[in-house]
Symmetry: C2
Subunit: 197 residues, 2 copies
């Protein structure tokens, strides 16, 4: 998605070898008009899937997920993160390891908000190692719901998450795909969707 790639080039900051900070428009400060454009693009790519629910994880996924929800007109559920849950009554839970923070969190969604009639679109801000998406897929599985696709704002294709989802046959659409960081520059990968539509 051209305007997103341009925004990343303009405002993203590369830290170390594989961290991209986009906290000026995506996950600390949020540009709502850009979110709206991302939501429209997710809709374009998944509108034929009869989505009934959008799932994400707090906090950074909420803004793009709600923007997508505005297009699909379906509820958005954000999984809550906890260090560890003692009371798991009426909750689907899964454990998510964060490579960045080197900690595990449990994520939880109430039984009331996901069931076996749901056709789910997962939305998240980043796809790196794929741990958060895997946790949500685990929860979708527990609920007997159907995963229809995964919509990602920024994919770091050089980490293992994308490959892992491809191997499982998941329909992934990433609005920006980063192939590498080279000499402080961002190298974007191909966007098959734009090439084919």
């Amino acid at each position: 998605m051209k305007i997103l790639e341009e925004r990343i080039e303009k405002d993203g900051r590369i830290l170390g070898t594989n961290v991209l900070k986009v906290d000026s428009f995506l996950n600390h400060q949020v540009d709502p008009d850009l979110m709206m454009q991302l939501g429209e693009e997710f809709y374009r790519r998944f509108k034929d899937q009869n989505i009934t629910k959008i799932l994400t994880v707090e906090s950074s996924g909420i803004a793009p997920a709600v923007a997508a929800g505005l297009q699909f007109h379906v509820p958005v559920v954000f999984a809550r993160k906890h260090k560890s849950l003692t009371l798991k009554d009426n909750l689907y839970t899964s454990t998510v390891y964060s490579y960045t923070k080197q900690t595990s969190n449990e994520i939880a969604i109430s039984h009331r908000f996901l069931n076996d009639n749901d056709r789910v679109l997962v939305i998240d801000d980043f796809l790196a190692n794929g741990q958060a998406v895997e946790g949500l897929m685990d929860i979708i599985n527990q609920a007997g719901a159907t995963l229809c696709g995964v919509g990602i704002v920024i994919e770091k294709s050089f980490q293992k998450g994308r490959q892992l989802l491809d191997e499982r046959g998941v329909h992934v659409e990433s609005l920006a795909r980063i192939k590498a960081f080279e000499d402080g520059k961002i190298v974007f990968g191909p966007d098959e969707y734009e090439q084919n539509h």
Copy 2:
């Protein structure tokens, strides 16, 4: 705001003496179309204030804040919560006590996203004891920015937050004001804005 009060009556659940659960449309599952209507209402009430930035706290504030941002076309910054911060470089921080969880969190906003030219609208999902808003006001003060108003989705008027903000002369607009829970029923208070417009 009539449609919000009706939604609270329909889907809200009263727990114990003073807890209202609205996790089916506001803070776990989110109704994006309702968020949009809330955003439009916040815009109606604060549009003359030359707002340059919307501030909220993760996670539950993000959806209504981004919806408001879509109307004002200004950036939305959500303060990050931490148990305790060791590294405070380039961050405004404040300590927020949660009566519900009986724990203290530090909230933090990067220096890069708030400065003394900003005219700030604070948005949050609930106003109860006012701790989160006070923490944001502390941060706004540290940045030398101007607080132009506070927009709340649901105010529990019987707790001390509203009075505290009124005493400080803060312009507060709460889209639903709950005066009391009586016999398992919600008693709404007056909406001065709707009475005067």
